[in-house]
Symmetry: C2
Subunit: 420 residues, 2 copies
Amino acid sequence: MRTYKAHIIDTPSPDAFRILENGYVSVSEEGRVVYIGSQCPVETGELVDLGDRLLIPAFCDLHLHAPQYRNNGLAMDLELLPWLNKYTFPEEMKFAHVDYARRIYSRFVHELWMQGTMRVSVFATVHPEATRLLADLLRKAGLGAYVGLVAMDRNAPDGLRNNALQAFSETTNLDRYLGREGLVRAIVTPRFIPSCSEEMLTALGRLANESGLPVQSHLSENMHEIDWVHQLEPDATCYGDAYHKYGLFGQTPTLMAHCCYTNPQETQLMRLNNVCIVHCPTSNTNLASGMAPIRHFLNNGIKVALGTDISGGHYMSMLRVIQYAIQTSKIHYAQSQGKMPFLSLAEAFYLATKSGGSFFGKVGCFDLGYDFDALVIDDAYLNFDHYTLPERLERFIYIGDDRDIRMRFCQGRLLPEPPL
Amino acid sequence: MRTYKAHIIDTPSPDAFRILENGYVSVSEEGRVVYIGSQCPVETGELVDLGDRLLIPAFCDLHLHAPQYRNNGLAMDLELLPWLNKYTFPEEMKFAHVDYARRIYSRFVHELWMQGTMRVSVFATVHPEATRLLADLLRKAGLGAYVGLVAMDRNAPDGLRNNALQAFSETTNLDRYLGREGLVRAIVTPRFIPSCSEEMLTALGRLANESGLPVQSHLSENMHEIDWVHQLEPDATCYGDAYHKYGLFGQTPTLMAHCCYTNPQETQLMRLNNVCIVHCPTSNTNLASGMAPIRHFLNNGIKVALGTDISGGHYMSMLRVIQYAIQTSKIHYAQSQGKMPFLSLAEAFYLATKSGGSFFGKVGCFDLGYDFDALVIDDAYLNFDHYTLPERLERFIYIGDDRDIRMRFCQGRLLPEPPL
């Protein structure tokens, strides 16, 4: 056991921060929180005094594309569908080459570590060897992840399609290779409806439901995309139903990224099936997709997590995503003449930690029994005046960056810097 | 004379970047560009080879509040008017104390330098001693600035009001102290209409028109503010007219920040009077003000510059403001079903350099005769693959930061780091 003393801040609920000035958190050998409080516990094990630093939950990024890392910060002059064809698919094709994949995925994993993101649900590509390599690199770094071999058998260029049998068997192989006990696991990953034939969706739905594997995909991101889905799947009552009828919409734990234009029917289907929306506000603004109405989804009892959506999103720090989640909710607030209250800082922080973390188990806050996923923040540079602890956290979120993160823990383990 | 060899990128026009791979720019003793081209000039003076680095124009921040530096990244749970009363006015009152002002303004100037912002038009407070100190610190650092002693005589707490005579004479004194030849000069600065009585506006209009000093203020930022102005100035045909009728709206060079809700009449008045809009998209989202329709203003021939609006805006880097300017224009694009084309990267860069720079003279690009305001960018960390020069610039703008800025020049002078 180890006990850390620091200014501890987390969000057990979205209503408000829990703030323990000079608090204590004890962590078991298994990496779980066994004590949290303002008093020093009777048994501390090794006591680590972090001094005037902040101790906060590490971040969870529930939607991003590792093979698009090279395109990070680039190519944002097009909307979704032409953007995929012009920039994204050509880049993803390079991952047929494992040496290329190793170079890019190493940098990707390094940046996750750097930005304090300890848990991700990530898209790889259709290439099984490169996808396994990504999973290996994440495991070696000590990070937690769901890794998806992307399934796509239509409307994609040669070299970037697999078929239903391949997607089924290669995802099964990845699942067997990784197992279900470790921090890195497999996830069923249809790219999106336009990329997947009926045969593909049938196979993936069968895989998810027989194996119990979770599912991740994209939903209602862009109006052109939605129109296309209606043409491709005329029998579906909404875009979400096109996943649902194949067993890919909440029959097992499911993440659906974006939902900028989810209609009432789709909202209802998500609520009934406990589908988690992954809100990616940087991506949605960069690709001119729109702004997902997050307050509306929260009011409807739908679970929401946050994602950077690299490289639709331009920056891998969840700090920026928290900022944009609040800011786009403020645009909704202004445009609704105040009828849609904007997200508070605590709410957005909760989405980036405990809400996203719940996809991985007990992750994202320092409640008893939770995995100790944590960041130690040294904000001496920002804290030049007599700021309160809530102010220090707010300034770190809005104007801090990776330079202020001094230590990163995932499931209790202090993670060293991974190789570049 | 000195000649710099580097990859030179600027925007002489908003249409596209000018890119000179391994280009040359020569700078006179007076700090002006006397040669730019792909070939080495016949006379170089001292030749400085910057290697594989990018050389770009430094940034111009046309609207920000130096005394709000301590509140940077804080206090964004309220809209404009309650935000002013609860957070901003109490902080500004502290600048009656010169020691406090010195401490905060030193950090403010340091951060301008750090972020590569070489020219600003800045609001101080009502306090003449602290305002002069800010101007002195900017001069010492070698930065270019218009510094405004804030004028406000109503709807503000005790200790944060001056009267018409004070504002007139103290701004006049600041102008005399600074002169009109150096890089730092005075600017007439009514806070906004709700803060200024008829007597105050009359005095400031007279000052601007008699002295030829430029003017800066706020305009049509928030609906509650606009309603209030209509109550306070029932005879004005629009908010802008409430400045115009006192000679504070283009009669001398004028900056008006925000314009989220400028109506057709006000747009017309700005165009006729050559008033420059300072677009502050980070501030407008943080304070839930809205989104200024920049494409619409550009289509109407109105000059637009960019501003961080610290501390309504949360971050002092113009890189972020460029990002948000593009991103909010993309939300307009999405919401107008594509009728309002979004800003290109070159356009937004132009707004942050040459367009804003024009307020200071020939500033903001490397055309002949322009002041050599420049940043040397070492993007080795970002440029890990074979990126093109346009891609390298785009990545620096979207995912780079102050760490990548290696040298900062203002009017030809390499600026050392100012003291914190």
